[in-house]
């Protein structure tokens, strides 16, 4: 059988998934690749593509599925966006679209430049670009952490 799907894929819950889809296009450049609606126009399922990856955007479809907006800004899971060029420009585009920038772009001990933002319903997105190669020993020395399995 065809096996084009990534082994792991996130599904993100929103109170208003259609508004979220439009925002994710504008802020991050995600592109809608599938949109499934019922006869009343209620969104049943959607998928957005970014590079070679896919994220599913949906509603609060059971009592256990909540937008952070519905539970005081809490997140039980987040998505990390890995880009290859110009992290600072990515951040400015997100800011212009209305993202709340929680942590401004900064280069981290493990060699990635990152920023972190919050979307209009409170999901947290961390964006990273690798800007320098760092060995496990270097990262341990700088951070004071013990690191197992660094590649």
């Amino acid at each position: 059988m065809a096996d084009w799907r990534a082994p792991l894929m996130s599904a993100v819950c929103y109170q208003d998934p259609k508004a979220a889809i439009a925002w994710l296009e504008q802020a991050f450049g995600f592109e809608i690749s599938m949109l499934i609606e019922d006869a009343d126009g209620t969104l049943a399922h959607s998928e957005m593509r970014f590079g070679d990856a896919v994220v599913m955007v949906g509603n609060e479809w059971t009592a256990d599925h909540k937008s952070p907006k519905s539970i005081g800004g809490k997140n039980t899971q987040t998505v990390h966006i890995q880009i290859t060029t110009d992290l600072d420009a990515h951040c400015e585009r997100a800011r212009a679209a209305g993202a709340e920038i929680l942590v401004e772009p900064a280069t981290q001990f493990y060699g990635d430049r990152t920023y972190r933002c919050r979307d209009p319903e409170g999901h947290i997105w961390t964006v990273a670009q690798t800007v320098q190669a760092v060995t496990r020993e270097e990262a341990e020395a700088v951070s004071g952490l013990k690191i197992t399995g660094w590649v």
């Binding site: 059988m1 096996d3 799907r5 082994p7 792991l8 996130s10 599904a11 993100v12 819950c13 439009a22 809608i32 690749s33 949109l35 499934i36 609606e37 019922d38 006869a39 970014f50 590079g51 070679d52 990856a53 896919v54 994220v55 599913m56 256990d64 599925h65 909540k66 937008s67 952070p68 519905s70 539970i71 005081g72 800004g73 809490k74 997140n75 039980t76 899971q77 987040t78 998505v79 990390h80 966006i81 890995q82 880009i83 929680l102 942590v103 990635d112 972190r116 919050r118 409170g122 947290i124 961390t126 690798t130 951070s143 004071g144 952490l145 013990k146 690191i147 197992t148 399995g149 590649v151």
Partner: protein, 162 residues
């Protein structure tokens, strides 16, 4: 880390080490990276399934998150804000039995779906929901629309929201 996927999830737990042991046993995930501080507390961890990474973290909050909080569903009466879909190539029913034997709560038993996949859904000990899917049949968009009564589009414009 040049060939990481463009999107990688991170899942938060009250007890990330216990969660990682459970994810290894129940789902066959493998631990690939573990960052711990001097007290042995997990800073960040990564696991892999079929070569794809997933981050594992502990509950956290602080100035770096503004008013946001990262919390396990176990701290939120079972609510979750994102979920994972796990794509299997074969053996979905056996995978479900392995998960059940490890203590997963199976909230949807293995079943064929109109869109050509066989799926099951499991809740882990802290309440995260994992959706497992295996393609068993290729179904065209038209066939899916007929079988489900849903409208299927590939853009907001096509769906009439342009």
């Amino acid at each position: 880390m040049a060939d990481r996927p463009a999107l990688v999830a991170c899942v938060f737990y009250k007890d990330p080490i216990a969660a990682m042991k459970w994810l290894e046993r129940a789902f066959g995930f493998e631990t690939t990276t573990l960052l711990t501080d001097a007290q042995g507390k997990v800073g960040h961890a990564e696991m892999e399934f079929r070569g794809a990474p997933v981050g594992i973290g502990g509950n956290w909050s602080g100035p770096q998150l503004g008013g946001a909080r990262m919390e396990s569903p176990a701290s939120l009466d079972g609510a979750g804000t994102q979920f994972m879909r796990v794509q299997l190539t074969d053996g979905l029913d056996a995978h479900c039995e392995r998960a059940r034997a490890a203590g997963a709560r199976i909230t949807a038993e293995p079943e064929d779906q109109f869109y050509g996949a066989r799926t099951y859904r499991a809740m882990d000990p802290e309440g995260h929901i994992w959706n497992f899917s295996q393609e068993v049949r290729v179904v065209s968009g038209e066939e899916m629309e007929r079988a489900s009564g849903l409208k299927i589009a590939t853009s907001l414009e096509e769906a009439g929201h342009g």
